[in-house]
Amino acid sequence: MPILKTEAIVLRSYKWSETSNIVTLCSRDFGKLRAVAKGARRPNSRFDNCLNPITQSQILFYPRKSGGLDVLKEASSINYFPDLKQELEKLAYASALCELTEYLTPDGQTGSSAYYALHQTLNKMEDSPLEDFKKLLWHFELRMFAVAGYRPQLCECVCCGGSPKSLPVSFSLAQGGVLCEKCEQKDAARRQVHPDTVKLLRMLQSIEIEKVGKIQISPSLEREIKAILEAFWRYHTEEYRKLKSLQVLRQISRNAGT
């Protein structure tokens, strides 16, 4: 059996048996992997801390035979992202990136864009102040929508290619994009959004990650961006409700408000 080598970020790890874990990874060269790490639960295991969630590691593994699990042979860590684990809120954002990657990367897709998006965003979060995390998460969500195959169309009408009217803009959840005046009547699953929201989403969609922190967003637009991304999510995937880190983030912001 050939042995394969790649870099990967651990998305999740759970108990498989008394001594072994199953680990979900986003790999650079082979897409999403589900692998068994034998002996990982033993004290002083050879995998040490390399397979904890939110860890970038180099891995050696035996690919699965049909229907089974990959088998990890070795792992050595490259980055633990320690700064993201010092503070609960930062950890919750980083965990959200991992969960989104797990749910949005199609099984069997071997492209490396999910890996690079995740890797870049975790790195960027590590040296960003907490107030930028929200924007980095949205930037990441938009990139992952593209990976999953529903990149929102934010310039021309998603239906006919015409130009959308100015105030307020209709956004089609079903078709994933803005609508012109002619087409909006035909779409039941549409949302009204402020044109500035569309402008900001468009900016987030095209901008380099380095510049995300510099974008200024007013609280009311923040609320709208959050709402429209969430609605879009919910429309396209059942998994949204299962995103546990976002529930914890909501808890934290609720507690901060009281």
Partner: protein, 199 residues
């Protein structure tokens, strides 16, 4: 529909849900009980019933107990100004075995873990905050040496910082990634003695 389920299958399925029990062990246990003396099998059932009916969580420290408050919380000879914060009731047993710690406890009921949906509201954190307001001088953070255990301790240290208490974290030397319960008695004693103040 439920009553048509074969009792053997039903019991096997129930055993299988228990930690560290696979299908084969579950079957073995079921067949053992089938062959066992009726009295023996019924006393197991009774013990389970009693466990659920007579034990509850202490309303002060959230340890498992028969009486509320628990024996430790109502023991006047213990130092009432020190609280040791741990994850699970089994950690109380591990620390009590050392015979060295004479303060009180606070059982969180787990660790903070966003990936599992566990935030501050899912643990007994607000309750800890309330206790700390009332005459507590030292809080020892004794969550495990896992990534989540460290995040939880860091969160609590920050949360309790505004109160006038000394906050300390038990020393490393616990097995990496390990729970308190698998640490030896000597390691635990040393971890407690060498606890470091959190600034």
């Amino acid at each position: 529909m439920h009553s048509s389920v074969d009792p053997i299958e039903k019991l096997t399925a129930a055993f299988e849900k228990l930690p560290s029990i696979g299908t084969r062990t579950a079957q073995r246990l079921t067949f053992y009980l089938m062959k066992a003396d009726k009295q023996e099998a019924l006393s197991l059932a009774e013990a389970i019933t009693e466990l659920k009916e007579k034990t509850r969580y202490c309303s002060i420290c959230f340890n498992l107990t028969e009486a509320d408050p628990c024996d430790i919380c109502s023991d006047s000879s213990r130092e009432r100004s020190i609280i040791c914060v741990i994850e699970e009731p089994k950690d109380v047993l591990a620390l009590e075995k050392t015979g060295q710690y004479r303060g009180l406890y606070h059982v969180l009921g787990g660790v903070l873990s966003p990936l599992d949906g566990i935030g501050p509201d899912n643990l007994k954190i607000r309750e800890l905050q309330e206790r700390v307001k009332n005459g507590i001088e030292e809080v020892i953070l004794a969550t495990s040496a896992t990534a989540e255990g460290e995040t939880t301790s860091a969160y609590l240290a920050r949360l309790l910082h505004p109160y006038s208490v000394n906050i300390s974290r038990i020393a490393r030397g616990l097995p990496v990634g390990g729970d308190l319960e698998i640490a030896s008695k000597e390691t635990l004693i040393r971890a407690l003695e060498e606890r470091r103040r959190v600034e």
